[in-house]
């Protein structure tokens, strides 16, 4: 599979140390197409261990950057919901994804300005680098993940208004990015005992990700007020919600051979040639459907 002109670092996954020219014949990973090499968390180290057989250097490098602890906690929770203790994916029909990637913002310049009339506006500029997303991973859903640390115990529901705007540097020389498109929507959350709020931004990010954008630059304005507009309580009390810059969660369908396709039963049958072939004489189906089918078959052949 080619990376469809995807601009991105052509480095292979971080676990490989051999420069391409020096040890390419030694390095089986380099035999894989570029689009496939990156992002296969498991393949590079497995291949590295096999190709480094002599040195037994099984100790792979620890990731260069350590993940955010909150993000790690969230992903461990997602893992527990999606797989058993032994790591077998749960047969959960509802989830079509076979890959979930969580990105924390590379850089964010938090502007905090308080306009008492409108409540406490929390706005950040976020830059996400999506280099790890491979050409074969198709976006199903994207979510901004906020972890709420309310400094005051919040007893009643909170209403937040969120405004997203995507920024892009039209050309490299441009200093400050211009706004390419924006989206405003309000969401009503029960903050009480929630640690996470997921904001679905799929439709907002779809055009950016569809164009194989490697860097997503967006500004997020968040205004949270106490009370519930449905009960038209007066939204005037501010809540001091210490909003931690959000992570970006991408639910993806990896279409490569290595990935597990739970609904792809055809593929399963192909992989199991040993499965006993269907017998020619149709078995009598306990629900009797088979006889009916046979008698119909006989009538049809007589008519013919």
């Amino acid at each position: 599979p080619h990376s469809r002109g995807r601009v991105g670092s052509d480095q292979t996954s971080g676990f490989l140390v051999a420069p391409e020219d020096a040890a390419s014949e030694l390095n089986p990973l380099l035999w894989l197409p570029k689009g496939v090499r990156r992002g296969y968390a498991l393949l590079p180290p497995l291949l590295k261990v096999l190709s480094d057989r002599g040195h037994q250097s099984w100790e792979s490098e620890a990731p260069r950057l350590q993940p955010d602890s909150r993000a790690l906690r969230y992903m461990k929770r997602l893992y527990k919901m999606s797989a058993t203790k032994e790591g077998i994916p749960k047969a959960n029909k509802s989830h079509l994804y076979n890959t979930v990637r969580l990105f924390t913002p590379c850089s964010e310049c938090k502007h905090r300005h308080r306009d008492l009339m409108k409540g406490d506006v929390h706005s950040v500029d976020l830059l996400f680098n999506l280099d790890r997303v491979t050409a074969l991973e198709h976006l199903l859903k994207s979510v901004l993940l906020y972890s709420f640390d309310t400094s005051v115990p919040v007893s009643s529901p909170v209403t937040c208004v969120c405004r997203l705007s995507a920024k892009e540097h039209n050309f490299s020389g441009q200093v400050c990015p211009s706004i390419s498109h924006s989206l405003a929507f309000s969401l009503h959350v029960e903050v009480r005992n929630r640690k996470w709020v997921e904001i679905d931004v799929t439709s907002f990010l779809q055009p950016l990700i569809a164009t194989n954008r490697r860097n997503i630059h967006m500004a997020v304005n968040f205004t949270c007020l106490l009370g519930d507009p449905q009960q038209n309580t007066k939204l005037e009390t501010l809540i001091n919600v210490a909003l931690v810059p959000p992570s970006l969660l991408l639910y993806l369908n990896d279409t490569s051979e290595q990935a597990y396709h739970r609904w792809n039963s055809l593929r399963h049958r192909r992989n199991n040639p040993g499965r006993p072939r269907q017998r020619n004489s149709p078995r009598v189906d306990p629900t009797g459907d088979q006889e009916k089918e046979n008698s119909q078959g006989k009538r049809a052949s007589r008519r013919r």
């Binding site: 968390a41 993940p67 955010d68 461990k76 790591g87 890959t99 990637r101 990935a259 597990y260 040993g274």
Partner: protein
């Protein structure tokens, strides 16, 4: 039945056992064996967060001469056995290999610090066959 017994020559027991030996299944017949590893043994636990333990299993053992339906082996397997026995012993006997697998979900930390949950196909052998 009696006249049959009269006709059949009384074969001495050791021939009988020899005769049946060819049909007996080998002692260490081809079957699935347990194997559990933890990613900390490979020192990969710095970047593989879950699962902590992984049981890939493996297939080991001799393939009986007459495969039949036991392993879901294609007829080719018996042909290969005949070639090995009758025509050319440099052709290998059928091997005991996995026939079915189950997937594995892995949670890993990528070099750039992002976190990925991935479901991989064919990571745990669940059934063996002779091929």
């Amino acid at each position: 039945r009696d006249e049959n017994l009269k006709e059949a020559p009384a074969t001495p027991p050791h021939n009988l056992s020899e005769y049946f030996k060819q049909f007996l299944l080998p002692q260490n017949e081809c079957e699935l064996h347990n194997f559990r590893l933890s990613f900390s043994q490979l020192k990969w636990d710095k970047w593989i967060i879950a699962p902590h333990r992984y049981s890939p299993q493996y297939c080991k053992g001799d393939c009986p001469r007459v495969m039949g339906h036991r392993y879901g082996s294609p007829v080719h397997t018996m042909v290969q056995n005949i070639i090995y026995e009758k025509l050319d012993s440099s052709v290998p006997k059928p091997s005991c290999v996995p026939a079915e697998y189950s997937p594995l979900s892995v949670l890993t930390i990528e070099p750039d610090g992002s976190i990925v949950y991935k479901e991989y196909e064919d990571m745990i052998a669940t059934k063996c066959t002779c091929r």
